[in-house]
């Protein structure tokens, strides 16, 4: 991105805030790039000849007589096969010591896919984690975030999902990633021998926060190249979107915009939707699946960032620690995959939807029983059984360290039903019960025995 000879150089800045600066200039296009005192900036407001620039690197040390040069084009990324295996900063410049990438230059944050050119997602993404595959099945072309408190191992789970997902390409967009986490991702991908199918755009905690605003668009421009031009399945990992939204709030605040809920800009929904809606399944086979992280504060999902995210994404995966079994689980109540209906019972065994729902319902009964117990009430026999069921369900299926295939998950479900409940208590469709209810001795048989035993 060198400046060219004929470009006009401006040297009189009239206004400087922490994230923006203004000057008088003519013929400037909206959203075009500029260099201010060696720092990259973008036009965010044009009032007559007053131009306001958002300076990605922060405005520290910018003098009023700084040199300002306009590029005449919006931010872009050069795309080609040689992106694979490379690490870049927010501007798309290599940070791995390798050479610059040659290729076709594309504007980032480009246009929307025509909805009628999309295909309905239908390819299951198996992760081996039952909390995901059984209860919240992922589908290619889906967009879904992890909602997690900062102390949850969300980056580890995300890396695990990425590696098991069998995508052609994995694109990592790191925003405010700590150096440790950056190295973690690098090592995990390296150890899995997957480095050559990974492209990373990283803004670390050491970089200025406003730079982050470019990361999702960079990552998704690369993703669109592989999905549209090469018909590949691409998995995009975005972590942490809360830090991205915080950067949006900083800029809007500096531009004197009226904040809406939780000091976030009123356009937060549209800003996030523009990113997440890049997830797509094309009829030609290419797809973009987005798995993101939205960190919560104290599990509060009513905060504007997770709230707006939840309305945009196709579900959310909620991690929490189950103290009864001492493991991190995918919370079955607050997690949801909206696209699972497209694959469960279709691409998976017919009993999948009903087993899933029945197990979650019984788990809910257990949580009621727990409340009862905590309030000091006597538990019924049924309550006791739900509690035992919940523990085993949590350990064998919900825990994130589970790695089994979906049929095995379903069999485990039936095994647990049989062990702890009667058929009527589980209340499943008769045909399924006939086909799948385990032969081995379960609660009903045990009871029968006891009864005949006591009669005798």
């Amino acid at each position: 991105m060198e400046t060219q000879a004929f470009q006009k150089i401006y040297t009189r800045i009239t206004n400087i805030t922490k994230a923006t600066c203004s000057l008088k200039a003519a013929g400037v296009g909206y959203e075009e790039l500029a260099i201010v005192h060696g720092k990259l900036a973008q036009v965010v407001k044009v009032i007559g000849d007053d131009i306001t620039l958002q300076v990605f690197g922060g405005t520290e040390g910018i003098p009023t007589n700084a040199e300002v040069v306009f590029y005449g084009k919006p931010p872009s990324l050069k795309v080609s096969e040689s992106l694979s295996g490379r690490f870049f900063n927010s501007f798309g410049n290599p940070i791995d010591g390798g050479p610059d990438v040659e290729g076709e230059e594309r504007e980032i944050g480009g246009p929307t896919v025509n909805p009628v050119r999309r295909k309905q997602p239908s390819e299951l993404i198996a992760t081996g984690i039952a909390g995901i595959d059984l209860n919240n099945t992922l589908v290619s072309g889906q967009k879904i975030p992890f909602f997690a408190d900062p102390d949850q191992p969300y980056n580890q789970v995300m890396a695990m999902v990425a590696l098991r997902a069998k995508a052609d390409k994995i694109i990592l967009g790191g925003m405010g990633l700590t150096n440790d986490d950056y190295l973690f991702f690098k090592n995990v991908f390296d150890n899995a021998g997957a480095l050559d199918r990974i492209v990373s755009f990283v803004n670390s905690t050491e970089d200025p926060p406003v730079e982050r605003l470019l990361v999702p668009d960079m990552a998704l421009t690369a993703a669109e190249y592989y999905a549209v031009d090469k018909n590949q399945s691409v998995l995009v990992l975005l972590t942490d979107m809360t830090l991205y939204a915080d950067a949006l709030a900083i800029v809007s605040n500096r531009m004197d915009q009226i904040p809406s809920k939780d000091s976030m800009p009123g356009s937060l929904y549209s800003d996030l939707a523009k990113i997440y809606e890049k997830a797509v399944q094309f009829p030609e086979g290419g797809s973009i699946t987005i798995v993101a992280v939205t960190t919560l504060s104290g599990g509060d999902i009513t905060h504007a960032i997770p709230d707006n995210t939840g309305y945009i994404t196709e579900g959310q995966l909620f991690l929490r620690k189950d103290t009864d079994v001492g493991k991190v689980i995918v919370d079955p109540f607050r997690s949801l995959s909206r696209l699972k209906q497209l694959v469960i019972g279709e691409k998976t065994r017919e009993d999948h939807p009903k087993v899933m729902n029945a197990a979650v319902r019984l788990f809910a009964d257990a949580s009621n029983a727990k409340t009862k117990m905590e309030n000091g009430f006597d538990l019924t026999d049924y309550d006791e059984r739900t509690l035992d069921f919940a523990k085993e369900y949590s350990e064998k299926l919900l825990a994130i360290d589970v790695n089994i295939d979906i049929d095995e998950m379903l069999d485990t479900g039936w095994y647990l039903f049989n062990k702890y409940f009667t058929k009527a208590e589980v209340g499943l469709k008769e045909e399924l019960v006939q086909k799948y209810w385990p032969e081995e001795e379960g609660l009903e048989e045990k009871r029968q025995k006891e009864k005949t035993g006591s009669e005798a």
């Binding site: 296009g29 246009p111 909805p115 009123g266």
Partner: protein, 590 residues
């Protein structure tokens, strides 16, 4: 409306995202459409504020690359839609561009298409005869669109009375062919084609009157039809936090509701949800007509990543299409998902214009805008004595699931049916998660609706509905008491009362939208099942301990659920019913 004369031009002065300020050289009007030239690409925009000589326009596209001095041409009219045969089954964007006609994978800026097919010939049958007195909205003839009659009408813009001078004979015509000539009082002839235009922000009002709605609109969703029914021409709204099943419920309504035409405005929501409709509706049968669902459906898609300003336009475009079909004497169901996104689009713009904000930074006139919009729905007596209706149901996406936020509050003032989706119900997978106690249908207070329901469903229907609501409230009270005092701290009757309400919850309220049979329940079957559960309610059972109560009722519920999953009146259905009766005998007290 079509003013000829010198075209007003202007030049771009300022750009703040999709708000552009234009200095103009002539007269312009509020809401006038203009085109900003970005090189050779025209960007469509709408005037939203005028402060001479500057027009504030909202651009329906991205303004990236636009610079000061760009030329602007004003069109002389407001945002209009084209009304003619061929609207059904199409997928439009918020500005009525035909998405299928656009080339390439990505939507290109400044690409505007002709919404309808101008070449296609339609078989026209005259309905009026020469010499008839006609006025705006009079039916001149009809063509068959998919399988439904599509009336060709005198354009709504023509005020006053006319005489039909000539009318085309039965035959094939395109929407641009002249099919009639009408003469006004001064003797001027006006040519009429099958096509007309109408500005979307102005309601079409060529009808006799709008009575209170009184007929039930069957949706097949039990928690709506049985507990809180919506009427033909009624309004309703569905607020709920994300993940509570708003969209699944809306899709169920669009598939099952007993309407002639369904218009879906996908407003600022997920693209994959629209794709679901594109993909499934052409395959699914409408159980009432046996035709494909897509044949009665039109989709206005402005998904969340499409330009924000067009989001606002999309709901008006959809409503105008609904009004057009209503004028033909048809029953329209219009759905908008979600009205909150539209309100947010208004907020973004209001913020850019630096208006003083109302609550939560929404514009001050939000309530008025929402009220005016909902008022366009209704049951209508047309001028020729026929009836037509628009039933409107919008979803609301309250921030943080908090129903005290401005969009929900504003909608509550106008929506007559309130279907509150509850997080608790969704968490325990009790779908549809409509809260039976918080939700309401104001139509149940209308004498004409009560009368209609008692006459058409069952003479005791209203009494039964009241009873069901009481049972649910008592059940909730019992459950609270049990939670406070403990299972054995309350009399067994409390458990019985709680479980009797659970029977209603599991059998009537809960419904499996993904089960072929359970997804849609005709009203006759709803009546039958309601009688069944009320029979259980009226039966006295005897139990020794509270533990037996839960076990016993779970068995009852299981049989009733199997009935829900079985084809109505089939052998399997009857078999489970027999089982149910046997279980009831076990504990029955005379």
């Amino acid at each position: 409306m079509e003013e000829k004369g010198k075209q007003t031009k202007g030049k771009v002065r300022s750009i703040i995202a999709n708000l552009v300020l234009v200095d103009v050289d002539g007269p312009i009007s509020q809401n006038e459409i203009c085109y900003i030239k970005l090189g050779n690409t025209p960007l469509m925009a709408e005037v939203i504020k005028v402060a001479e000589p500057t027009a504030y326009v909202q651009v329906f596209e991205s303004t990236r690359g636009l610079s000061v001095g760009a030329e602007v041409e004003f069109s002389g009219h407001m945002l209009e839609v084209t009304l003619a045969p061929g609207i059904l089954s199409r997928n439009f964007d918020g500005l009525q561009n035909d998405l299928d006609k656009m080339e390439g994978v990505f939507l290109k800026r400044g690409e505007y298409t002709i919404p309808l097919d101008e070449e296609k010939k339609w078989d026209f049958k005259p309905l009026a005869k020469e010499g008839d007195n006609v006025a705006a909205g009079s039916w001149l003839g009809e063509v068959t669109e998919n399988y439904q009659p599509h009336k060709i009408m005198v354009p709504f813009k023509l005020l006053g009375n006319y005489t039909l001078k000539s009318l085309a004979n039965e035959g094939s015509y395109t929407i641009k062919d002249k099919i009639a000539v009408i003469t006004d009082k001064e003797g001027n002839d006006i040519e009429v084609t099958m096509m007309q235009k109408w500005p979307v922000k102005v309601p079409i009002k060529v009808f006799e009157s709008k009575p209170r709605p009184f007929r039930l609109l069957e949706t097949g969703v039990r928690t709506i039809d049985t507990l809180n029914p919506i009427t033909e021409g009624g309004t309703g709204f569905i607020p709920g936090p994300f993940g509570s099943g708003k969209t699944v419920l809306q899709h169920a309504l669009s598939k099952q509701a007993e309407a002639d035409i369904v218009i879906v405005a996908a407003c600022g929501e997920r693209a994959n949800e629209v794709v679901e409709i594109f993909t499934e509706f052409p395959e699914l049968d409408d159980p009432r007509t046996g035709r494909k669902l897509m044949e009665r459906t039109t989709i206005i898609a402005n998904t969340s990543n499409m330009p924000v300003a067009a989001r606002e336009a999309s709901v008006y475009t959809a409503m105008t299409l609904a009004e057009y079909y209503r004028q033909m004497g048809l029953k329209i169901l219009m759905l908008a998902d979600s009205t909150s996104r539209w309100a947010q689009a208004l907020r973004e713009m209001s913020n850019r214009m630096e208006e003083l904000p109302g609550p939560d930074a929404y514009p001050m006139d939000l309530t008025a805008i929402i009220s005016n919009f909902y008022a366009r729905a209704g049951y209508t007596y047309l001028n020729n004595g026929e009836t037509g209706s628009i039933t409107f149901i919008g979803t609301v996406s309250p921030a943080g699931g908090n129903l005290k936020e401005p969009v929900t509050e504003a909608t509550k003032k106008v929506g007559r049916c309130f279907y509150a989706l509850s997080q608790d119900r969704a968490d325990s997978k009790r779908y549809p998660a409509v809260d039976p106690i918080d939700s309401y249908s104001k139509y149940l207070e209308y004498d004409e609706v009560k009368e209609y329901l008692n006459k058409n469903i069952h003479e005791n229907w209203m009494d039964n509905i009241e009873l069901v609501k009481d049972i649910l409230i008592r059940g909730r009270e019992s459950s609270e008491q049990i939670d406070i005092l403990g299972d054995d701290g309350v009399p067994i009757d409390y458990h019985i009362s709680f479980w009797k309400s659970e029977v209603i919850d599991f059998v009537i309220l809960q419904q499996d939208a993904f089960d072929e049979i359970d997804a849609s329940t005709p009203i006759e079957r709803q009546r039958y099942m309601l009688d069944k559960v009320l029979e259980i309610y009226r039966t006295r059972f005897e139990f020794d301990s509270f533990e037996d109560v839960a076990q016993y009722f779970k068995r009852l519920i299981n049989e009733l659920k199997q009935m829900n999953y079985s084809k109505y009146d089939s052998d399997k259905f009857k078999e489970h019913e027999k089982q149910l009766e046997q279980i009831m005998e076990e504990r029955k007290v005379a």
